[in-house]
């Protein structure tokens, strides 16, 4: 919406807002529920279920239908991190559970099948269900058995589902959660890619990184001290060859859930701004231009963004030790053409000289330095000054470093002008300079060395590495040095 630019527009806008508010407040709560309850069921289909990070295809039909869902509970041993095994309890064999996609108004016939090898009974609480336990009360299932119940999808949105068998927190901590999307009539805006990611926190007997089969730690779970916080059940589920592929210039949607059981996620994708977010999975309210969105435990969000430039985009829980120490990292890999206008990449690396401290204050000697009485003494004393102040950049052999620090050995720029050399050392040098045919574009700071030291170091440089052998005296330095003011500015 544009900002109004006249009072007439303000008036019209106010009237519109009043109308919208009145409309909203007049609709009794549950009005839409009733419409969805009344919507006639036509036909029957079996739900397409997918493992993360894949999402079933968008629903295109214009009517409500009967959808049959078969979800199989399996207890499986898997890898939570490199070399670290864990027994996951799953809806469908993986963490998170299968993605279920239905439409608002659909009638769902839900079969919860508990595999005969399960040690535990399980049930399911779908937050998309209206009624006691969200289905849990009707789906409590012993190993080797199957429960059936049905529900009508009254509210659109993206919802978590999870096991609710005692001890509930343990069933959830072992990975028993997934997402169900109740697509609104008319669907969601079209995007090029849809992916499915769920964060969860895990509690192991050993600490993060301890190898082998790690049992669940009840104590750490109760204390809310997770050893792992991960996306899609493992520290590496979305890394390297499992990174989510996209193309630059295309749009991506993440259905991002948080199974918990305990941690709230501060979900962020490094280097992206979500163009659209439906917070808490509420498909009726879209918000725009969000970088980090909060996802409560037992909730979800839908985020859309256009990837403008190629590269890697890292998914994190921005509670950062979870990302960088406990595993909450994933990656989107975007291929395609660079767009330097959107993002230039690194243009240059220059030495940063903060204002007021641009002068390198060389180590002050407490004792009065001896004064050289001959060129030989001057060159000998200059070697130490060079080693202490110059060699780090120009190197002890005077060769410098290509593209960064100009050479002093056989250097045309140096040999051409002795007085200029004094000015460079005392006043510094910034910007382009060509030495022996090579261009350099850097910064050399001004040096606060004494006239004697500068005379010595320059005489040493001129006497070394095939240079002209000129001598520089303290008097010449004094007469030609660049004066530097208290704030570091050059005073001519």
């Amino acid at each position: 919406m544009r900002y109004p630019n006249s009072w007439n527009q303000v008036k019209r806008l106010s009237a519109l807002i009043a109308f919208i508010l009145a409309g909203a407040s007049n609709a009794p709560a549950g009005d839409n529920d009733q419409k969805n309850l009344d919507e006639q069921i036509k036909g029957e289909e079996r739900a397409v279920l997918t493992d993360a990070p894949n999402v079933p295809p968008a629903i295109t039909r214009k009517n409500a239908t009967k959808v049959i869902v078969h979800l199989e509970v399996k207890e499986v041993e898997g890898e939570i991190s490199s070399g670290v095994r864990y027994v996951f309890w799953t809806f469908g064999g993986k963490v998170p559970g299968k993605f279920i996609r239905i439409r608002e108004g659909d009638l769902v016939e839900f079969h919860l099948d508990n595999h005969p090898s399960s040690k535990m009974p399980h049930n399911i609480d779908l937050h998309a269900v209206t009624g006691p336990g969200g289905g849990a009360a009707s789906s409590f299932t012993a190993p080797g058995h199957s429960s059936v119940f049905s529900f009508k999808a009254l509210n659109p949105g993206l919802y978590i589902y999870h096991c609710a068998t005692a001890p509930v927190a343990m069933h959830v901590a072992n990975g028993m959660y997934g997402l169900i999307l109740v697509e609104p009539k008319g669907g969601l805006p079209k995007v090029d890619y849809e992916y499915y990611v769920v964060q969860g926190d895990f509690y192991t007997k050993g600490k993060n990184g301890d190898k082998g089969l790690q049992p669940f730690s009840m104590v750490k779970a109760i204390d809310e001290r997770p050893d792992y916080v991960v996306f899609n059940g493992s520290t590496s589920s979305l890394l390297e060859d499992r990174a989510l592929p996209v193309k630059a210039g295309e749009t991506v949607r993440l259905f991002i859930g948080n199974g918990g059981p305990n941690m709230t996620s501060s979900f962020h994708v490094i280097g992206e701004i979500f163009d659209r977010v439906w917070p808490e999975g509420n498909t009726n309210t879209v918000t725009e231009n969000v970088a980090t969105t909060m996802i409560p435990a037992g909730s979800a969000a839908i985020v859309d963004f256009k990837v403008n430039v190629p590269g890697n985009y890292v998914l994190v829980d921005h509670s950062l030790t979870r990302a960088f120490n406990k595993g909450a990292l994933g990656m989107i890999k975007a291929s395609g053409e660079e767009n330097k206008l959107v993002y230039s990449g690194k243009i240059s690396d220059e030495v940063f000289l903060p204002e007021g401290s641009g002068i390198r204050v060389a180590d002050q000697k407490s004792a009065k330095a001896p004064v050289a009485t001959s060129k030989v003494e001057r060159v000998a004393a200059g070697r130490a000054v060079y080693a202490a102040n110059c060699a780090a950049c120009h190197q002890s052999n005077g060769e410098g470093i290509p593209h960064a620090f100009p050479p002093l050995a056989k250097a045309d720029f140096l040999n051409a002008d002795k007085l200029r050399a004094i000015k460079v050392v005392t006043g510094g040098l910034t910007g382009k300079v060509t030495v022996n045919g090579q261009e350099f574009n850097g910064v050399m700071p001004a040096w606060s060395l004494s006239d004697e030291d500068i005379a010595n170091v320059l005489s040493y440089v001129y006497a070394s590495w095939g240079n002209s052998g000129k001598e520089v005296t303290a008097q010449e330095v004094k007469a030609n040095r660049v004066k530097v003011g208290a704030k570091g500015q050059v005073v001519e």
């Binding site: 409590f140 012993a142 072992n174």
Partner: protein
């Protein structure tokens, strides 16, 4: 396989009515219904232990109760192995009772007598909080996950159910 008051998994590991794989001879019998288990015990002049009897026996967890709790929890959370270890291969407690944990779940006479609601979180409502197997807030020790799992398991059963990790033992009054 003939089935009387039992579901389709009844003695699933037996190829015929009167035979089983040799390797199973020392392992506990599983995949039997409550009816079959109780009938067997009665034939031996005994009966299934009550839940109270079973829990009392199991409450004697040796010197290091915490460590035992951890061990129990670790066993409960692992899926059932295809071959169950032989009877007597597990731990023995100070009552001299073997294998209460580590081999199989066990039927009790009144397995469904403690009503934990199928909706495990519905705690504190007056019809369930008189039972220690009820929802988490009504329990005496809400941090004892292993007990929850046991009560939860029993509560998921019906008498004709059979489960690959569910066996039984018989009990009688001391003379």
């Amino acid at each position: 396989m003939k089935r009387v008051f039992a579901d389709d998994h009844y003695l699933a590991q037996w190829p015929t009515n009167l035979s089983f794989a040799k390797g199973l001879a020392k392992s506990p019998v599983t995949s039997v219904s409550w009816f079959a288990a109780e009938a067997y015990c009665e034939w031996k002049g005994k009966s299934l232990p009550t839940t109270d009897q079973w829990e009392y026996a199991a409450s004697e967890s040796g010197k290091d109760a915490e460590k035992m709790k951890e061990k129990i929890l670790a066993w409960y959370e692992r899926p059932t192995k295809a071959k169950i270890p032989p009877v007597g291969s597990g731990s023995v407690n100070r009552f001299g009772i073997h294998d209460l944990f580590g081999l199989v779940w066990e039927w009790t006479l009144d397995f469904n007598g403690l009503i934990q609601s199928a909706e495990a979180r519905e705690s504190g409502s007056k019809d369930t909080n008189q039972f220690c197997g009820s929802g988490s807030l009504g329990a005496l020790d809400p941090t004892d996950y292993a007990s929850f799992m046991r009560y939860s398991f029993r509560n998921s059963l019906k008498a004709n159910f059979t489960v690959a990790s569910l066996g039984f033992r018989c009990a009688r009054e001391a003379p």
